[in-house]
Symmetry: C2
Subunit: 325 residues, 2 copies
């Protein structure tokens, strides 16, 4: 990653989208030449835009990998595959459920859980794909804010090659391309729109890298992910039209008393968060109409097996954070 | 406790308050004679009404004990003492903090926690007071609904003498008086008003016997009780005027990420519940204005040390219950 002073930020008002796309496509072509490049697509806006730029530059010489970690949202791997298929891009989906759940087994500390997901993603699964592909060029969706936040110590430095398990010796010959590094998220969204991405992609609310693993308090097991996945699906369905910045469901580890089938049941609790924010630095809970809250509570408690209680977060950020982990 | 068919329920519309009071006072006098009676006062409506009836009948020959368990609400022991002092009743406050926290140490199972509080209250603390007092007459606030719910299996049968650790042999000679057994809560409230109790007592929202121990998920320690006590104080202060049936704060065991002093902090979460209900059998979350929710969230996260996150429960009962434990 370059330092901030080495990057010529393109502010939104100076962004000429078509010109930017042409320039980046030319740049990728000239660097990769007749080589092969590879990238990881999460379905988020940054990696989606990089996929489109890379594909426009290299066609089939860009291999795009989607890691199906087992901790994605409902239908997400199939949806990402089909969105890009419609755009003429064949995405390779790698099933890595057992590797992720194996790495997460027994972990309850949030930092250890995040680290397990990151390591499994880069070193185990995507790293292996890179090494086996023979590709020497890596396309990465790093944007200007990522660099800024790394400098500020908010984000951890991601040395992508190190993360891939490529040590200094064998690193020789690898090259990382970061075509979005001059743009902030708003610029990336605009480029994504011009590249023909559907609005659900270029305007997607933020979603964390460690996916639903950050939405489970305590151990991340296939069963617990299935619970939070269904709750999260309901939250997204109910709040998509709310205009909120971000909305999410969290599965708690604490058990609370409830009643199911007329019997006392020591059941699970889902917490819903819905944020108003412009930049994720500060946030306030969205003032949802009480009917929406009631509907959310009823749907989640009725439709998600094992859940007897639903809460809505009413704290601002700070002192809260957007995600619970 | 008598069976339901042995009790002649007095319905609210047939309740002549002054007549009822005179009759119960006479009954207590005639049973106790020139003996000494004892009762435990929690500050709730039932035990407060019994205290007033017993005092009217027996004067100083009724010893009224308030067990200060260390898991009461903020200022509650002092408040109860002073309310009754103003009514001419001297309440004996027994400090039993170390006994309750000793019994609760290491317990996380909700049933075990409830049982520890009940055992410590009756057997250890109040039982000792009864035995040492030499009183042979026990006044108890059992009401008609308590008997009904015991029959229905909703409430556990409370054999008060057994709970006091008074076995069949030494039980000889003890007599339990239950002057409220023909009334439901609404009738008890009316009698309380006529006896001169302040409205905060005769119209008090329900509060569970095991007190703040039911509001702490996980181990009940002095520190954790202090946290939920302050949160609960804020909730009561903010929602007293809401007209809601019951409102409470719960301290969770799950930790969530927050920010305090500019630093990432893995902090505590408080859940607020506020119920609309007529009978506690069914309940819906009170439709509080969003400004109240925001104010609650901000006050609790700001004023309660260690708390970074606040939620509001949005589930109906069923499938939720009123209390979390």
């Amino acid at each position: 990653m370059p330092t901030l002073s080495e990057i010529d930020e393109i502010k939104l008002e100076n962004l000429s989208v078509e010109e930017f796309i042409d320039k980046q496509v030319d740049e990728i072509r000239s660097v990769v030449g007749d080589g092969v490049a590879i990238n990881a697509l999460s379905g988020g806006v940054d990696s989606s835009v990089v996929t489109m730029l890379g594909h426009r530059a290299l066609g089939d010489r860009l291999r795009t990998i989607f890691v199906d970690s087992g901790i994605m949202r409902r239908g997400e791997p199939e949806w990402v595959h089909s969105v890009f298929k419609d755009l003429g891009v064949e995405v390779e989906v790698l099933d890595a459920h057992s590797e992720f759940f194996g790495a997460l087994k027994g972990l309850t500390d949030p930092e250890e859980k995040r680290e397990a997901v990151t390591q499994t993603f880069y070193k185990t699964v995507f790293g292996r794909a890179v090494r086996e592909s023979g590709a020497k060029y890596l396309l990465q969706g790093t944007n200007y804010t990522d660099v800024e936040e790394t400098v500020a110590g908010i984000k951890r430095q991601h040395n992508i090659l190190e993360q891939l398990g490529i040590d200094t010796e064998s690193m020789f010959g690898y090259k990382v391309l970061e075509p979005l590094i001059q743009l902030r998220k708003s610029g990336v969204r605009r480029v994504g729109k011009a590249l023909g991405l559907p609005e659900e992609v270029y305007n997607a609310p933020p979603f964390p890298g460690p996916a639903l693993a950050t939405r489970v308090i305590g151990e991340v097991t296939p069963e617990r992910v299935a619970t939070v996945r269904l709750a999260n699906f309901i939250v997204e369905e109910e709040l998509r039209g709310s205009g909120a910045f971000q909305y999410l469901a969290i599965l708690h580890e604490d058990r609370v008393t409830g009643i199911s089938g007329g019997e006392r049941d020591f059941g699970q609790q889902i917490e819903v968060r819905c944020w108003d924010s412009t930049d994720a630095v500060k946030g306030t809970p969205t003032k949802l109409p009480f009917e929406s809250l009631e509907r959310l509570g009823n749907r989640i408690a009725t439709e998600v097996p094992g859940v007897v209680s639903v809460t809505y977060n009413i704290t601002t950020k700070p002192p809260s954070t957007i995600e619970p982990i």
